[in-house]
């Protein structure tokens, strides 16, 4: 926070301007190049200030603040989140009061749950009208304080400028998250002197952030870690989203390679290691790779970095990693240590710094894990992902496998939520961090399309694909038009299985095949016509398996926004599956993936190194 104090005087310091103008100045100061948002009554002064700011900077286009207007505020929120997830920068969205703000609750909660730094500026009715049930009034502070990392209601106009600056600081620092600034309309219209500097000093928070930033593993702590690593025979790293948001993927890869330790990742951690690398075991959890989950069952030391043993990962917690004698846990959030799983060794602090220290202190460490690696390799071969390759119907996994041949792990992939999301995680490769953007914790359907728009805005030249389902696509369908309006060349791939496939899958397994509310086979929606109507130059439907590769090639290579609907087999199910609240030993692998028998699972209870 001190950097702000040291920076030189702002050229506009001392100038009189409106609150709205001050906010835009602070955004510019924070390096914001794009805001997403929808205007309305209580935020008009701020939208006017953006307009005037951009007119003033007509000659210097690179300094302008690009405005992307969605169809719905929820779209703006997910665009900002997609922008932030892809780039690591703070995403910004600006909405009006009342419905504008309530439509933003979902992306704010989603960003909180996945630790994504976004700042929302919401207009509020004038201070005198707050609490009177005024037109377009909503209790934003109350709503958002249970959803966001922090909320400010700006009561004193003099505080507006520093509030906006502080919001960025809080969004970025520690475990990142969304911050909401609720700005009454009269505060936006107020005129005063711009200071060009200043930030709130929360003494507790500031001290905590300082100690987090300074937290380093001591030599003794590193030695303790290596003692555990020395004692174990079957170490496994579990990498989560914290490795990606903590910018520690490079260190993690190096650490894993140095000591030859295999890595499983959570859904949020995909991309922290290159999935094509031999040490990568891909995703663990409810729909993790069978071999990843078996490795979790077999490991005797689980090293968790930036992950939090979420219920979709841990399943039945008491049975999670049952043969692990030691657990290590590195996280930036002290509240995550011991929350679900008690651990042998832990460190609160930056994953990057922790890995750097471990590597420095572990230079002399030697231990041969080749037996374990051979076992893991065998698991990878024997329990490889698979599906019904003989079916006449297009299998969604096949579509993604073919897509993977084109993207080769280099694309940014966004998803909705459901079966297609899990297949995308399983069947696509990711060579880089920040390349799978998905609503992991909240599981918000409709995330994919706006997130892809945000990611494409952040990286205009990269291939951005939204892998979506028909259900998720319907949720924010209005944003198709946003993609064409701004000529964002996103590729929208809808795997249409005529319903909510994941819900169907659960209904098949646990609700006697009563497809209540999830069957959409009688719906009349023509997605291709919709995309055409919204200006997509490429809008096709694929129903013939024979044309799959050729169509995908044209689709991915299309110069401009492209839309492809693939009529996929509605009966396809996501496997493996560890049922909700079950242990990994109850994992079902379906008809096409080889599973272990319960006996095979139990057999490995014996001594540390004998069976490998």
């Amino acid at each position: 926070m001190n950097a702000q104090l040291e920076s030189k005087r702002h050229p506009l310091a001392g100038k009189r301007m409106t609150g709205a103008e001050m906010m835009i100045q602070v955004l510019a100061q924070e390096g914001v190049d794009t805001v997403f948002g929808y205007t309305g009554g209580a935020i008009l002064p701020t939208y006017d200030a953006i307009f005037r700011y951009n007119v003033e900077h007509e000659a210097r286009r690179s300094e302008q603040i690009q405005l992307i207007v969605p169809a719905n505020e929820q779209g703006a929120g997910f665009m900002a989140a997609g922008y932030a997830r892809a780039s690591g920068k703070v995403g910004v969205f600006i909405v009006t009061s009342g419905p504008g703000a309530t439509n933003s609750v979902t992306p704010i909660r989603d960003s909180m749950a996945d630790s994504v730094p976004v700042v929302l500026i919401s207009g509020q009715v004038a201070r005198g009208a707050i609490g009177t049930d005024a037109f377009q009034e909503a209790p934003v502070f109350n709503l958002m304080s249970s959803c966001a990392k922090h909320v400010f209601l700006v009561e004193e106009p003099e505080d507006l400028e520093i509030t906006v600056r502080t919001a960025f600081e809080i969004a970025k620092s520690g475990r990142p998250g969304p911050v909401v600034i609720d700005v009454p309309k009269d505060v936006q219209n107020w005129e005063g002197k711009f200071k060009g500097e200043g930030i709130y000093r929360f003494r507790g928070y500031e001290n905590r952030m300082k100690s987090l930033a300074q937290a380093r593993l001591s030599s003794q702590e590193c030695a303790d870690f290596y003692e555990l690593l020395q004692k174990c025979e079957r170490p496994l790293i579990c990498a989560g989203g914290g490795v990606i948001s903590g910018d520690a993927a490079g260190q993690l890869r190096e650490f894993a390679r140095t000591h030859r330790i295999p890595v499983v990742t959570t859904l949020m951690g995909i991309g922290s290691v290159d999935t094509t690398e031999d040490l990568s075991l891909h995703m663990l959890g409810m729909h993790g790779m069978a071999y990843a989950n078996y490795a979790v069952m077999d490991c005797d030391f689980l090293i968790t970095i930036g992950a939090r043993f979420d219920d979709r990962v841990a399943g039945k917690v008491q049975e999670f990693a049952p043969r692990a004698r030691y657990f290590a846990h590195i996280d930036i959030d002290a509240a995550e240590i011991g929350k679900v799983k008690s651990v042998t060794w832990s460190h609160v602090g930056s994953a990057k710094e922790a890995l750097i220290s471990l590597m420095q202190e572990g230079k002399g460490f030697q231990k041969d894990f080749s037996k374990w690696l051979a076992h893991v390799d065998k698991l990878k071969k024997e329990h490889v992902r698979n599906y019904d390759r003989e079916s006449n119907k297009i299998q969604p996994q096949d579509v993604l496998e073919c897509m993977n041949e084109i993207t080769k792990g280099e694309a940014i992939v966004c998803t909705g939520v459901g079966q297609h999301q899990m297949w995308a995680a399983q069947y696509l490769d990711f060579k880089h961090p920040r390349s799978l953007l998905t609503s992991g914790s909240m599981g918000t359907m409709g995330f994919g399309l706006p997130a892809a728009i945000g990611a494409q805005v952040a990286f205009p030249d990269r291939l951005v694909i939204d892998v979506d389902g028909d259900g998720s696509m319907r949720m924010n369908l209005g944003e198709l038009e946003t993609a064409t309006t701004y000529n964002l060349p996103i590729k929208v791939l809808v795997l249409n299985n005529r319903g909510d496939g994941m819900v169907r899958q659960w209904q098949k397994l646990y609700f006697g095949k009563r497809f209540s509310g999830s069957d959409k086979s009688l719906r009349q929606k023509d997605f291709v016509k919709t995309a055409e109507a919204d200006g997509f130059g490429f809008a096709e439907r694929l129903s013939d398996k024979a044309n799959l590769k050729e169509t995908l090639k044209r689709f991915a290579g299309f110069d401009g926004p492209a839309f492809l609907e693939v009529m996929a087999d509605p009966e396809a199910c996501v496997y493996p599956m560890v049922g909700p609240g079950m242990g990994y030993n109850e994992m079902i692998t379906g008809d096409f993936i080889a599973g272990r028998t319960p006996e095979q699972n139990i057999d490995r209870e014996s001594g540390p190194s004998d069976s490998f």
């Binding site: 929360f202 003494r203 507790g204």
Partner: protein
């Protein structure tokens, strides 16, 4: 009562020092209500530092869960110091005002019994006494047991406040300081 309650839950005394800013109390209370825990008592007032307020809370929940919620509280920017005082070496007080029926003929015995608890009569009518009692929860409850047979018309309690006897950092093995970033 809270839906998260079970038999092995004890009451816990939590002490939270916060910056005196808009909405901080509702955020902290929200962390408990979001998990289905009822706050049994809550006291908020100024502290030695004019910019900070001290929140003392009594919550019925397990120690581990209280610890987890306190860690979440500790992430709120306004939070300065977060302590679980349940097992700490501290002094606790609560103040109650209670209006007890005091008809002719019973007044003398009532006053004698009140004396045992150093309860003060703050006002009286021909039918009632209003007592003020200060003490820890045990004393307050014992007093209420004694006057209950006379008939309690109405009562208000401040809720518990607690202060540990030493600086938390100097204590060893007692209390559970989640964090202490206060200067």
């Amino acid at each position: 009562m809270a839906n998260g309650s079970s038999n092995n839950q004890s009451t816990r005394t939590l002490s939270i020092l916060v910056e005196n800013r808009f909405g901080v109390l509702s955020r902290i209370a929200g962390l408990f209500s979001a998990r289905g825990y009822n706050i049994e008592s809550l006291t908020v007032a100024g502290s030695a530092d004019p910019e900070l307020s001290r929140i003392t809370m009594v919550v019925r929940c397990e120690a581990l869960l209280a610890q987890q919620i306190l860690k979440q509280v500790d992430k709120i920017p306004e939070a300065v110091e977060v302590l679980d005082l349940t097992e700490a070496n501290c002094v606790e007080r609560e103040l109650i005002l209670v209006r007890v029926r005091a008809p002719e003929g019973k007044r003398t015995t009532l006053l004698t019994e009140a004396e045992i608890f150093r309860a003060r009569v703050v006002t009286a009518t021909p039918e009632n006494y209003v007592f003020e009692v200060t003490g820890d929860s045990g004393k307050v409850e014992a007093f209420l047991d004694v006057v209950r047979p006379y008939g309690i018309d109405e009562m208000v309690r401040t809720g518990k406040v607690a202060l540990h006897r030493n600086l938390m950092t100097k204590m060893s093995g007692v209390g559970q300081p989640v964090s202490s970033t206060a200067r």
